[in-house]
């Protein structure tokens, strides 16, 4: 009882530690990409049918469909790639026609290479579709000193665009029909 007043003192540094590497939550990424959505429904990504080449083992991006009433606005895909030695968590928003709306870095943990968070670098992906190359040093420019992070995020975005195309093929741009699993 008499130590309860200590709790905020303990909680403050713990909270700081827990979010030190987090730049954005999934919820913030959802709202930033789809400000008009009123619901985000988790969608299963059928890996066998995803048709994504060179997907690393254990690849399992999380997918949400952004909805405004009965209308699909697009999808938010959250995935992780290794930068140099640690995981980068990032989100890709794709509109209902399969074009990229935004790339957001949610969590970055490495000592170096955090420049991939720069808006200018991420903006290069806007408008890309699964039909584009999305390759470092081709249509995506590198950041000197952050080459590995740039390369791996670029490859990851390319995979998510392909995954988005597969979801689009499967579900169309409408809310998926229910009852068929």
């Amino acid at each position: 009882m008499n130590v309860r007043w200590l709790l905020p003192l303990v909680a403050a540094p713990v909270a700081q530690v827990a979010y030190a590497a987090q730049y954005m939550t999934i919820e913030q990424a959802q709202r930033a990409a789809f400000p008009d959505a009123n619901a985000f429904a988790a969608i299963a990504l059928d890996k066998a049918a995803s048709g994504v080449p060179a997907a690393p083992p254990g690849w399992s991006p999380k997918v949400w469909q952004a909805r405004a009433g009965e209308r699909s606005l697009g999808w938010l895909l959250v995935d992780q790639v290794i930068g140099k030695s640690e995981l980068i968590t990032y989100a890709v928003a794709i509109d209902s026609r399969g074009a990229l709306i935004s790339v957001e870095v949610l969590e970055y943990r490495e000592s170096h290479g955090g420049e991939i968070r720069l808006a200018g670098w991420r903006k290069q992906f806007v408008g890309k579709t699964a039909a584009d190359a999305v390759e470092l040093n081709k249509d995506i420019r590198n950041i000197s000193g952050a080459t590995l992070s740039c390369r791996h995020v670029t490859e990851g975005v390319q995979r998510l665009l392909l995954a988005g195309r597969e979801i689009l093929r499967r579900d169309g741009s409408e809310i998926p029909a229910h009852g068929n699993g």
């Binding site: 700081q16 030190a20 987090q22 919820e27 009123n38 429904a41 988790a42 968070r117 720069l118 590198n142």
Partner: protein, 438 residues
């Protein structure tokens, strides 16, 4: 099990409405119920796909019940665990072959370096980074090799945008010192300017603050140990090869009387462009009693630019250093071949072109021109006893980096030297090399 409870709870909550006379409402409830069943199946399938997705289960149910206007994201905990408690290993290595065209008898093959690096996350904000390096294959009392701890520092993020480092860290000067892996530079050997003038890999024991802004500016300021001018050997060639390389201490029982200050500023606001610079200054007499250069101060500054549009990669760097108060010290070195320079400098311009690319592989021809002088000026001495400046060395390097994949590189190049200096290994030569990093 948890989903079933959720579904039942939700149905129970909706039940009073369903008992109403409004048939539409009833139909809506039925629709919701069907949706919940569908979502439950979906969740079950997600479970089967990925055990890591387990905590995601409650969210789909929440979607079905969310009031209009409220977004319902899954918690971040649905992602696989990362960060805290994790340990990672990495490494890089480099093997080279140098064949002087005029002295084939001096051709040499060497395992230049093998490095193992690691990092461990104590929690999401606190990490330790380390790199252990073996140079020249074997290190023993009878061999020329070295084993060294190249980096060992703690890093603590105070906020997502800035943090603090403490320990043995690389000085943030130039483009090579902090990014010296063989896949990151063109040519078998590291460039001369960032070896002779900025002594890559230059590290000091220090505490530093670092950070970045949304506008593309990254910064780094620190205070730490400094080179020891008392270690200058006027009889050896090392001071001519790299003035700072010959007196750096690398945190090996380092004399720590004097504190260095360093800072770096880089801007990468436009994708593909890097513009930056840095400076390092310190007194370097280390408080040695009766040392003739007791006020000696080192100042080293550099500026660099790199532009990587598409398949091209252009870069340029200029660095200049000065050491003050060396007149009396050099007087004690009279007759010796290597006095302490008052000024030393170097610069280079480099261009590379990703000419061919297939799959993961690429062929990148490059050319680099360097000028540098490790003894550009010496403190004047009475009676014309002062040393003459060294001639400026000019080196052309042309060659090809063949990347089997982005992390494995085979290199070949030819280096043309303006002035031969066999003692320092300066003379026209062919080089072959391999390198990797993971």
């Amino acid at each position: 099990m948890r989903h079933r409870i959720l579904v039942l709870t939700l149905c129970a909550a909706l039940a009073p409405a369903a008992h109403g006379e409004d048939a539409d409402l009833k139909a809506q409830v039925e629709a919701l119920r069907a949706e919940l069943v569908a979502l439950k199946d979906e969740v079950r399938r997600m479970h089967a796909e990925s055990a890591a997705a387990a905590p995601a289960a409650p969210a789909p149910a929440a979607v079905a019940t969310s009031p209009a206007g409220a977004a319902t994201p899954l918690p971040a905990a649905t992602m696989p665990p990362a960060g805290a408690g994790s340990t990672a290993l990495w490494g890089y290595g480099q093997i080279g072959y140098n064949r002087p065209t005029a002295h084939a008898d001096e051709a040499q093959a060497d395992l230049t370096r093998a490095v193992i690096g690691f990092n461990h996350a104590f929690d999401d904000a606190t990490r330790v980074y380390g790199e252990i390096e073996w140079e020249h294959a074997i290190a023993s009392a009878d061999d020329a090799g070295e084993v060294e701890v190249e980096q060992l520092y703690l890093e603590h993020a105070l906020a997502p945008d800035y943090g603090v480092r403490a320990g043995l860290m690389l000085v943030p000067l130039g483009m090579l010192n902090e990014h010296h892996e063989p896949t990151n530079f063109y040519g078998v050997e590291r460039n001369f300017v960032e070896t002779a003038i900025i002594p890559t890999t230059w590290r000091e024991g220090a505490i530093a603050l670092y950070g970045s802004t949304d506008t593309g500016v990254s910064w780094n300021v620190g205070a730490g140990t400094a080179p020891d001018l008392g270690a200058w050997d006027p009889t050896a060639d090392e001071g001519r090869a790299s003035p700072l390389g010959s007196i750096h201490q690398e945190l090996q029982l380092a004399k720590a009387h004097d504190v260095s200050l360093f800072g770096a500023l880089n801007w990468q606001g436009i994708p593909g462009l890097l513009v930056g610079g840095g400076a390092f200054t310190a007194k370097i007499a280390q408080g040695a009693p009766d040392f003739p250069a007791d006020k000696a101060r080192l100042v080293l500054g550099e500026a660099h630019v790199r532009w990587q549009p598409g398949s091209f990669d252009f870069s340029a760097l200029y660095a200049r250093g000065t050491i003050s108060d060396t007149q009396a010290l050099n007087l004690t070195f009279l007759g010796q071949p290597t006095p302490v320079p008052k000024a030393f400098w170097g610069g280079y311009a480099q261009g590379a072109w990703r000419a061919l690319e297939w799959g993961q592989s690429s062929l990148v021809p490059f050319a680099r021109y360097e000028e540098f002088n490790t003894g550009a000026a010496y403190a004047s001495q009475p009676e014309s006893l002062g040393s003459m400046p060294l001639p400026t060395e000019k080196v052309w390097t042309t060659g090809v980096n063949y990347y089997l994949n982005p992390n494995v590189v085979f290199k070949v190049d030819y280096q043309h030297f303006n002035n031969d200096d066999p003692a320092l290994g300066y003379g026209n030569r062919f080089d072959l090399g391999i390198g990797y990093q993971f």
